[in-house]
């Protein structure tokens, strides 16, 4: 069996686009989906902006039975998985159930559902708490529900690494395919836009307090002040290249060519962070040198110290201004486990259409960072992209995505 792993289907939901093409169109125009929170009254909180998904009603896509037992993040994940499988046109009989697995990443679990159950617990007593809370909250539920709905009985798991997890899931899906499972559903989706989820995110200390949506999330910018949280993510179908050919798969968005992951040393150790090493591992596995990377999709935390650390890493690997860098995620928010998969989709579309989407900017990138930040959509020949992600707590992951 081939060791080439292809992306054959995509399902995606973000604040500036529901579905791949709507999302891509918005991204190229630099259209932002960030706005004041409408999900609940956030006027009393120090941060009030979020990337909320709009124009999506779960009941239009899922049966009542599933709606009653799932958090909104799981509803998004189930629909994204449906769309990915439909996009890939995987038909019943193409694969045995044990030949298809699921690995998803999750960073926050089912906050909104759980918050409702907490409210019932404290106002009505334990008898009122839904039995479905037993699984609606936990990190593996998206993997579980996708597996059940699509009858996927192959090797499956759930990975938790905050913002890096989404790349870990795709990397692990690739590894699982190379080990012998021909098809994997993978990706990540997060949503925690209820009051409890909101304060949890604010407590991380990295959410921007700026009130203007156009200037609150500006990675690498002189005016960087933190990030704006979003909801959503992407689910992909990955297939072994030989298996995809054997079932006459029509879609081939590109190849997941290499994956690397590292963990940072303790902050006081003085040793360098692990981001560069994760990138090196991914490029080594893909058998590419830095000169062959046409664009870097940065983690883009928007927190000055983290921006600086990431810029330094990119310069160390590629030289000053050595590669176009973009963090178009600032147009729809920081998606935690959804970030990596959406960046992978963005990379694949950049390869397909020869265009790098912009990073919103304010006063302009910090000159001392020495990176070639793409701030307006840029036509470019993109054959190979590097996607980076850093999860709070020390996680670093990197993926190389390549034209197939």
């Amino acid at each position: 069996m081939s060791t080439h792993v292809l992306v054959t289907g995509i399902g995606l939901l973000t604040a500036n686009g529901v579905g791949v093409e709507q999302f891509w169109a918005a991204l190229q125009e630099g259209v932002s989906g960030l706005a004041s929170l409408s999900r609940f009254d956030a006027s009393g909180y120090p941060a009030r902006l979020a990337g909320e998904i709009k124009g999506f009603r779960a009941p239009d896509h899922l049966p009542g039975r599933l709606l009653a037992q799932t958090d909104v993040s799981t509803q998004y994940a189930l629909v994204a998985a449906d769309w990915a499988v439909q996009d890939a046109k995987i038909a019943p009989g193409d694969y045995l159930d044990y030949e298809m697995g699921v690995v998803t990443a999750n960073a926050s679990g089912g906050f909104e559902f759980t918050h409702r159950e907490f409210r019932k617990l404290w106002t009505l007593g334990p008898q009122a708490v839904s039995v479905y809370e037993s699984f609606a909250w936990f990190y593996a539920v998206n993997t579980g529900q996708i597996s059940i709905r699509n009858c996927l009985r192959g090797p499956s798991s759930a990975l938790v690494a905050e913002q890096a997890g989404g790349l870990d899931a795709i990397g692990h899906a690739r590894r699982t395919i190379i080990r012998g499972t021909p098809m994997m559903v993978t990706g990540g989706v997060d949503s925690a836009l209820d009051p409890w989820g909101w304060v949890s995110q604010l407590s991380g200390g990295r959410v921007s307090p700026v009130t203007d949506p156009a200037s609150a999330y500006l990675p690498f910018d002189v005016a960087a002040s933190g990030y704006v949280p979003g909801e959503g993510g992407a689910i992909l179908t990955l297939e072994n290249a030989d298996a995809a050919r054997a079932r006459d798969a029509q879609r081939n968005y590109g190849e997941i060519a290499g994956y690397g992951t590292t963990f940072d040393p303790q902050p006081a150790s003085g040793r360098p962070n692990g981001l560069g090493r994760a990138a090196e591992i991914a490029m080594a596995e893909a058998e590419v040198t830095p000169t062959e990377i046409d664009v870097v999709f940065a983690d883009g935390a928007g927190v000055p110290e983290l921006d600086r650390a990431e810029a330094e890493t990119i310069v160390r690997l590629f030289g000053p201004g050595g590669v176009p860098v973009t963090a178009s995620k600032a147009l729809y928010g920081r998606l935690y486990s959804g970030a990596g998969p959406v960046d992978v989709v963005t990379a694949l579309l950049s390869i397909r259409d020869g265009r790098i989407p912009p990073t919103p900017s304010g006063a302009g990138p910090v000159a001392g960072y020495d990176i070639d930040l793409v701030t307006r959509v840029r036509p470019a020949s993109v054959a190979c992209a590097l996607v980076l992600a850093r999860g709070k707590g020390g996680f670093n992951s990197a993926l190389v995505v390549r034209r197939s």
Partner: protein, 85 residues
Amino acid sequence: MALVSTDDLRRVLREVTGESPDDVDEASFLETSLEQLGYDSLALMEAAARIQQEFGVRLADDDVFRIGTPRELLRFVNDAAATGR
């Protein structure tokens, strides 16, 4: 007069599971096993909790798992209510 009617049970099942048994006529509904109607063990536990909340009748987990059809469930619940359990 039974405490819990067939309509009550259909409503409870719809409310707690999001899935409605409305497309099944009453006679079929009463005789078809809950499992065949699409209600798994968690759905039944949830329905039992709601019945207890609404009607004050307690169903132990063991009871719930021994009940097969809606007719059996209604009989169990209404017998328990009548004898004041």
